[in-house]
Symmetry: C2
Subunit: 245 residues, 2 copies
């Protein structure tokens, strides 16, 4: 059985199999060696994610109750929340807002849950992306009579830094998407489609950063077994030889 | 636990999570309701696929031994072979060739294996695509001193028709990719990237046809339960209410 990589997050995870999406790229990257499992939930913040944990990662799929079942531990889980937590408390998306300190506590709780369930699994945090406020004003989710952005560049940075500090406190890797994305001088247009969600270059940044961090902890296709022979390893003069156990 | 949809096939399946790929589109389509599992093996024909079956669909993931474990039956499996079987027996890719009658028998065996393991699972055959011989000559897999194509338009059609007849004999659905793709007057360039593998429009045809056939047998996102509330169903005035069991 192939190991799994879970992608747990909000709409930026749920949408990661749209054209050019980072989840699809990850599946392609690990096409013969690992199964990428999509667990993205549009609109969710860490407060809702906490309530969802037992459903997202149900007990029947854990290894906890049986030492013999260790194969069912995923090799990695990406945890990618914060964009919704960072919604401003006095704007139209206030029901998604989670205060900064609670966001940090919630991330800690999510990491603890996963680490308790699967001690050997690599948990990788991803910070929210930077917000392009002009893009948000052009693409509000609903009627926005105030004409004010529901989330800001500044707040996204605060939540990103909080995410990084949680990773440090937990001793786990983190993708600093907030800063990485801004290395592109045209990040507002090249990386984002509506000031919040990922466009082509933004998906590319997430994919490249995720595989880089996974590689740092030894999770890469070349280090994982293939379950069946690769074409290049099949002898053209006796193909079936490769399939003898 | 979410139901699974397995994609079992050759390189056209293995590559289905490349940009714009039909596997990625399928994952996106079922993002909240089913897990798409990639089991694509580049270069494989049905003879090798038969040898691989026990590894691709291992006994530990079957429901057979425990009636209580019925959830682990996938809702669907796509079986997409024939492009390699149809390689000509006297050209450079002859080691991949499988005679037409054996191809049919092998497809029967694969379908029987799946139906015996998972009686309620929908098995969906997909015919090989039409071959663009000029594209193949421009993009040979290896040195081709003969200067002759290793697979032909005509042979791909014979294997496609054989696939369709197997589906009829088994009473299961089939995507007639060979004919569907040729409805595009520029299929050679719009649907194929190298005379064999799928370009953007080809991926679109496979995706549209697969979800259409799945819909015909009742497998569509709207008919499957969601494991957690959709954003539209969450009360902005009391979001946590939706998470009470």
């Amino acid at each position: 059985m192939r190991p799994k990589i879970y992608l747990f997050g909000d709409s930026i995870t749920e949408g990661s199999f749209q054209e050019g999406g980072w989840g699809a790229s990850l599946t392609n990257h690990f096409a013969r060696t690992a199964d990428v499992v999509l667990r993205g939930y549009s609109g969710y913040n860490t407060r809702w994610a906490l309530k969802a944990l037992d459903t997202v990662f149900p007990a029947t799929e854990t290894s906890g109750d049986s030492g013999a079942n260790d194969n069912s531990s995923p090799i990695a889980v990406t945890v990618f929340f914060g964009a919704n937590d960072a919604c401003l408390p006095d704007r139209y998306a206030s029901f998604q807002h989670v205060p900064l300190q609670e966001y940090k506590q919630n991330l800690h709780s999510i990491v603890s849950f996963l680490k308790k369930k699967w001690p050997k699994t690599h948990v990788l945090l991803i910070t929210p992306p930077p917000i392009d406020e002009e893009g948000r004003l052009r693409h509000p989710f609903c009627k926005n009579p105030q004409g004010l952005v529901e989330r800001t560049y500044e707040a996204s940075g605060e939540y990103a830094r909080a995410c990084i500090s949680v990773a440090g406190e937990c001793g786990i890797p983190v993708v600093d998407l907030w800063n990485k994305m801004q290395q592109n001088p045209d990040w507002e247009n090249a990386c984002l489609s509506d000031g919040l969600h990922l466009a082509k270059s933004g998906n590319r940044v997430v994919f490249e950063e995720v595989i880089s961090k996974l590689k740092d902890v030894g999770v890469l296709p070349e280090a994982l077994p293939v379950d069946l022979p690769l074409l290049a390893d099949i002898d053209p003069n006796d193909p079936l030889k490769s399939f003898q156990k």
